[in-house]
């Protein structure tokens, strides 16, 4: 195996700058997408647990569609196909005039995709609380909205912290798919450095280390949060 090691390459200009901007884009896409995924996913997940047949059906269809098309294909659909389906002016706006078109499209696409996964976690979190608490709430005279607001959601979200953490880590890793529509996040930058300098080892190692670093930080942080808010007597559920 012939290879010329040169670890200095990742600290040289402009490559160091590429790496920093790459990790910046990765984190921005992940956080923007997570905000969308979390809010929309919560709504859809809650809809799936309600008694209304129509809203349950709509939520199920959403989850099945977004879960069963590969993320990269969804990326292409939003980036290439979606503007074509809009009226001319709106399509033009999405393609050209929208601020940071690649970033926005990637974040929206990743958010909508992950919303379907978050919805499943929210649904199973709420359902794991059991019918008893729901009935108890209704028996004390709370309305359905109040039962969700005061009983199911506060308990549910505390149980859901570990699976939601792993969903966030998934979004963080999946943000690399944004490179297919031209967002220069960390994986794309590593690839670009490899192509410019042929120092693939150094470039890919840097990206790998950064991914592991962020993953570890998030996991440690969330373990602290989890410990703070865990529900006494539900250790087994919380540890899952």
């Amino acid at each position: 195996m012939q290879y010329n090691w040169d670890w200095g390459v990742i600290f040289r200009e402009p490559y160091q700058e590429w790496i920093i901007s790459g990790i910046g884009w990765t984190i921005s896409v992940s956080i923007a997408a997570w905000i969308l995924a979390f809010s929309l996913g919560s709504i859809i997940g809650i809809l799936r647990t309600t008694n209304n047949r129509i809203s349950r059906r709509i939520a199920t269809v959403y989850v099945e569609i977004f879960r069963n098309i590969p993320l990269i294909v969804q990326m292409f659909l939003w980036y290439f196909v979606f503007p074509e389906l809009l009226p001319n002016d709106a399509g033009m706006w999405v393609k050209r005039e929208m601020p940071m078109p690649e970033f926005t499209t990637a974040a929206v696409c990743l958010g909508l995709y992950t919303a379907s996964r978050v919805a499943e976690q929210v649904r199973s979190g709420i359902q794991s609380i059991g019918q008893g608490q729901n009935n108890a709430g209704l028996a004390t005279g709370l309305t359905t909205v109040q039962v969700y607001r005061y009983i199911l959601l506060p308990v549910g979200y505390r149980i859901m912290i570990p699976p939601l953490t792993s969903e966030f880590l998934t979004i963080f890793k999946n943000s690399s798919v944004a490179l297919t529509i031209g967002v220069l996040e960390i994986t794309a930058q590593a690839r670009q450095i490899e192509e410019y300098t042929f120092q693939g080892f150094e470039a890919f190692t840097t990206a790998t280390v950064l991914y592991i670093l962020v993953t570890s930080i998030v996991m440690i942080l969330m373990r602290v949060v989890e410990g703070r808010v865990s529900i006494p007597g539900m250790i087994s559920l919380g540890a899952k």
């Binding site: 195996m1 798919v177 592991i212």
Partner: protein, 219 residues
């Protein structure tokens, strides 16, 4: 818009798309087989009770699970030719990447499956005089696999979707074939819509089938 939707372009290039789908399926099946074998070994190492083996296994799993698949694909696209000293083509690089990457996920599924077999079964096996391998082969693994089948199949569907990521190194799978046609004929709308529908139908029917199997064969 849809009034210009041209279905002819799909029919004319059908053989090309089918060839792409064959490669996608081939890659999926090969990655499942390789991933299952390696994943089982990793899971056994993890549960073996030798701390060094289980440390290696858990490091491997955590390492691959904290990396995005695209980065793994790039790694092996770069590494495999370098190690072998000759170009091998994208297909083999991505196959190796998929096997090693999926093994980490299969390991976790299999480990959970093995741990779901009650301890009493293992003791009973030991009591009738089976050694470790016989115990695994005849008592634990058959029950464990039965518990795991739904999760393994779901993972297979996820893997089937993930193979589309070979796009980043241009291996001619279903998506790349469709992309080539789309650019050559300037029919992006038709081709990507078709791709999405095909994936949706295949994955959806797969997951409905799994749910039915699960209801029928649950232990």
């Amino acid at each position: 818009m849809f009034d210009q939707f041209d279905t002819n372009v799909i029919l004319e290039n059908l053989h090309f798309l089918i060839a792409g789908m064959q490669l996608t399926l081939l890659l999926t099946v090969a990655a499942i087989c390789g991933g299952l074998v390696l994943g089982t070994l990793l899971a056994l190492a993890r549960l073996s009770g030798f701390w060094i083996l289980s440390l290696i296994s858990s490091t491997y799993v955590n390492f691959f699970r904290s990396m995005p698949l695209i980065l793994v694909i790039f790694w092996f696209y770069f590494l495999v030719p370098l190690i072998l000293g000759q170009p091998v083509g994208g297909y083999y690089s991505v196959l190796i990447a998929f096997v090693l990457f999926e093994a980490a996920y299969y390991c976790e599924i299999i480990r959970a499956g093995i741990q779901s077999v009650r301890k009493g079964q293992v003791y009973a096996g030991q009591a009738v005089g089976l050694n470790y391998f016989q115990n695994m082969r005849y008592i634990v693994l058959p029950q464990a696999f039965r518990n795991m089948v739904p999760v393994l199949l779901t993972q297979a569907i996820i893997l089937f979707q993930d193979t589309s990521l070979v796009y980043v190194v241009g291996v001619k799978d279903f998506l790349v074939s469709a992309d080539l046609v789309a650019n050559r004929e300037n029919r992006i709308l038709e081709m990507f819509t078709t791709v999405a529908c095909v994936y949706l139908i295949m994955c959806l029917s797969g997951s409905i089938l799994i749910r039915k199997l699960q209801r029928r064969y649950a232990l």
